[in-house]
């Protein structure tokens, strides 16, 4: 029973409930044993009938208060208990004082109740009980003392006082006694039972030993019977108590076992007092196996992986320090069960202290934090990953910044060392970058370039800077001006829009200025070189050729029969060839530079061809070749659009080539009409061109079938076909090799566009 009560009290719940029961028990016993209520009822009625209204009224009032209070205590249990107690204190206190000072208390008999409220409070476990008790004693002693000194005069007699004091002593004794009964009744019962059992056993033994001592046995049996009755009485008392306790306990257990958390209660010696279902299953133990045993032996505590010594465990610490301990997830506490299972725990451990400040034990509420731990670890891992990512990103950024700086340095160095003038202007007309070469060209040096400064320079040179910043206004094409005068230089200005690669946003323009003065001078001098060279070369050649031909013509007789004639002839021929080479070179350079001018007109090619044939008749005759020309025989004259002189040059070249490379047979020229062009076909019965050389035919310095070392230098520079093709292409026509067979001859076609 003591254990149950202790458990009940130590559980930290409703400590007052225990007193409630004790009070009920005490009152029942008081009224039963001493019959106070009948006495009171009888006394008050008697007094009232004898016309002592004051005392009678007071006694009836007292009686009612007691009845009401008993009702409060018995039926409503602790409800209004405090209220009831104070009403009693007030009633008794006022009555006591008024009786002492006015009517006296002689013969009233109410002394029995003076201390009732005090006892009630005392039983409630309040300090006020002892305080009020002592206060009453002091008041009474003060009254006696003051009366003895004749300071006040009160009606009383010492019998009353004595009775009052003795009644107090009786009450205190009763309280002490009933408290003792409750606490010890079970122990006593068990002791009595044991005593009875041993007594019975010894009796049986004795009976067996001596059949004769029947009388003695009879006495012993009677004694035993008395004892038994006493035990039964006691047991019945305790049974009532136990039943109400059981009810409360069941309620408690229901609450405890239905709670989601695991719960443990230890007493101040760290013995397990209470364990709920959750705790049982978590710790893999059964309540009946562990209750009353040392807590430390039930489960082991680990901090991380090391075993926590008993003294360091939270129950021990709480008992020692009387402070609440919170064990959080990050404290890394684990329980290791007897089966070896380890799981993380979070818990709250709190001391159990009653109102009197006594430490009764400690309670722990804990839970398996595996899931929380896992998610915690997951979160920690995530945090770690994120931190790493963040760090990586930061590293990358700083790396990128470094690269950017390097890139910038490289770019700046490149721009600054550029021979071209370079300036970047953004869309807000800020000069972002300008390089020294630009300052050189512009002729101004400045630390702080402004768009307007640059504008001034451009305006001075009759140029508009805005033309080169059209991109700022949304134009996206490059803009180029070539060969303009700028500060006494000839320059090329190129403006390029700058786009952001990711979104194609226009952010400004880069303006490049190239000083092409030198290049222009060079070009001019090269062109001049060609015209001067042509003149200078050809002038002496003219003299050589002219003189040689004069000798051949006018001094025939003098030369006859000597080697001189052949020598003069060689000089004459060589000079002609040299003139031809110079002419070819000049044509070539003009064509390649695009400086050849074509005077295109609508012409009839028949007379041109006739003219060429006439001119080439002499060399053909010399080789005894048949040179044939079949003019175009359409009804009306077909005109072509071409440069007469250039066309003639091409005809001479192609027909001349055929004559040159044909040793026997004929060279014939025919005309073929197509829709858009006239085709002059030149066919010969010459040596032909080998297949492998055909594709090299129209190349520069190329003579079909010849390598560099096997050139026939008597037959020209190898530029003829190349120049002819360039000439025809420039006039919208073409030259092609139609067919060729080694040893059998070739056919070329010259295609000339028909006049529209």
């Amino acid at each position: 029973m003591k254990k149950i009560v202790n458990n009940y009290l130590n559980s930290g719940m409703e400590v007052e409930a225990g007193n409630d029961i004790a009070i009920k028990v005490i009152f029942i016993n008081i009224f039963t044993i001493f019959g106070v209520l009948p006495l009171l009822v009888f006394g008050s009625i008697n007094t009232f009938v004898n016309h002592d209204f004051l005392v009678g009224g007071i006694e009836i009032f007292f009686g009612l208060v007691l009845v009401v209070n008993s009702y409060f205590l018995r039926v409503l249990k602790k409800k209004y208990l405090t209220f009831a107690v104070y009403v009693m204190i007030l009633t008794v206190g006022i009555s006591l004082i008024s009786l002492l000072f006015e009517g006296g208390i002689e013969g009233t008999g109410i002394y029995w109740f003076y201390t009732l409220p005090v006892v009630s409070i005392f039983l409630l476990g309040r300090k006020e009980g002892s305080l009020i008790t002592s206060t009453f004693i002091v008041i009474i002693l003060a009254i006696i003392f003051l009366d003895q000194l004749n300071i006040v005069s009160i009606y009383y007699n010492f019998v009353e006082i004595r009775q009052m004091l003795s009644s107090m002593i009786v009450y205190f004794g009763l309280v002490y006694f009933f408290q003792g009964v409750i606490q010890n009744s079970r122990d006593i019962a068990i002791a009595k039972k044991d005593e009875a059992s041993s007594l019975y056993a010894s009796l049986l033994a004795e009976r067996e030993k001596s059949e004769g001592s029947e009388k003695e046995v009879q006495e012993k049996l009677k004694e035993l019977e008395d004892t038994k009755r006493a035990i039964i009485n006691l047991l019945e008392d305790s049974k009532d108590l136990e039943e109400s306790l059981k009810l409360e306990k069941d309620k408690m257990n229901l609450i405890i076992s239905s709670m989601g958390e695991s719960l443990l209660v230890v007493d101040s010696d760290l013995n397990l007092e209470l364990i709920n279902k959750n705790a049982e299953s978590l710790l893999e133990i059964k309540a009946e196996d562990v209750l009353g045993k040392k807590w430390s032996g039930i489960v082991e505590t680990l901090k991380d992986t090391t075993l926590t010594p008993d003294k360091e465990r939270s129950f021990s610490k709480v008992i020692a320090d009387r402070k609440i301990i919170l064990t959080k997830l990050e404290d890394n506490h684990y329980y290791k069960t007897r089966s070896g299972r380890i799981f993380p725990v979070t818990s709250v451990t709190a001391p159990l202290v009653n109102d009197a400040g006594e430490l009764l034990g400690a309670v722990k509420v804990f839970r398996d934090a595996t899931e929380e731990k896992n998610s915690w670890q997951l979160i920690e891992k995530k945090v770690e990953e994120r931190t790493k990512e963040l760090k990586d990103a930061r590293d990358k950024i700083s790396e990128g910044w470094l690269q950017l700086q390097q890139e910038k340095a490289r770019l700046t160095a490149s721009i600054n060392n550029l021979s071209l003038g370079f300036v970047i202007v953004d869309t807000n007309h800020n000069v972002v970058i300008i390089n020294p070469a630009m300052e050189e060209i512009v002729g101004v040096k400045s630390e702080d370039w402004k768009f307007t400064d640059l504008q001034k320079v451009f305006t001075n040179n009759k140029l508009k800077l805005d033309d080169f910043c059209m991109h700022c206004k949304g134009k996206t094409d490059d803009y180029k001006v070539d060969g303009v005068d700028f500060n006494n230089k000839i320059v090329r200005i190129i403006s390029v829009p700058i786009f952001l690669p990711e979104n194609n946003k226009l952010i400004g323009s880069a303006i490049l200025i190239e000083d092409i003065t030198e290049a222009k001078i060079l070009e001019r001098s090269r062109n001049e070189f060609f015209s001067i060279a042509s003149h200078e070369l050809r002038t002496p050649l003219t003299a050589i050729r002219g003189n040689a031909s004069l000798i051949e013509q006018y001094y025939t007789k003098e030369l006859e029969g000597s080697d001189m004639k052949a020598m003069i002839s060689d000089i004459h021929e060589s000079s002609i060839r040299l003139i031809q080479i110079v002419n070819d070179f000049l044509d070539l350079s003009r064509l390649e530079q695009g400086r050849m001018q074509f005077k295109k007109e609508n012409i009839d090619i028949n007379p041109i061809l006739s003219d060429v044939i006439e001119e080439l008749k002499t060399p053909a005759l010399e080789k005894k070749l048949d040179l044939k020309f079949v003019p175009n025989k359409t009804k009306s004259v077909v005109l072509v659009n071409s440069d007469k002189e250039k066309l003639r040059q091409v005809f001479v070249n192609i027909i001349g080539n055929s004559i040159k490379y044909t040793d026997k047979g004929s060279v014939s020229v025919t005309i073929e009409n197509t829709e858009s062009a006239l085709k002059v076909l030149v066919s010969d019965t010459g040596r032909g061109i080998p297949k492998e050389s055909q594709n090299l035919l129209f190349r520069k310095f190329q003579q079909a079938g010849d390598s560099l070392y096997t050139r026939d230098t008597t037959k020209g520079t190898g530029l003829g076909l190349y120049i002819s093709r360039l000439l025809m292409t420039n006039m919208g026509g073409s030259i092609d090799l139609v067919s060729s067979e080694a040893g059998k001859g070739s056919q070329f076609s010259i295609s000339i566009p028909i006049a529209k």
Binding site: S534, T539, L550
Partner: protein
């Protein structure tokens, strides 16, 4: 005998033309440069002037222009005989009323004679 004025600075070429035309029984005179040529033309009133373009003082085209502007010489036919053969120059000479344009190195002696004969003959028929 027809009078022929050759304005040519290069002595070798000049001497060649002198020979060529002398053989053909022309009366040949020459000017060593532009101003000399102009003076000779005014003085001699030749039947034909053969004019080079690249000259030491003023160029042949300027000489041609002056000849054709001067009433004293404007009726005198001028054949340009030069080694410059680009189209611009030829066109310019035509504009300045040159009576012929020949490229020295491209024209054999006999052909030159034919051309000269043509111009002088034409002139003669006009006269």
């Amino acid at each position: 005998m027809a009078k022929l004025l050759i304005i040519e600075d290069d002595p070798f070429v000049r001497r060649f033309y002198e020979r060529l035309f002398s053989f053909q029984k022309y009366e040949v005179f020459y000017g060593e440069n532009g101003y000399d040529g102009l003076a000779k033309a005014k003085e001699l009133k030749p039947d034909l002037i053969i004019l080079d373009i690249i000259l030491p003082d003023i160029n042949g085209l300027d000489v041609l222009e002056r000849l054709k502007k001067d009433p004293e010489t404007m009726h005198c036919p001028v054949i340009m005989l030069t080694n410059i053969k680009d189209d611009v120059t030829i066109r310019r000479a035509t504009e300045l009323k040159a009576d012929g344009f020949m490229v020295k190195s491209n024209v054999p002696a006999d052909k030159l004679l034919v051309e000269v004969e043509k111009v002088i003959g034409k002139d003669n028929t006009l006269l």
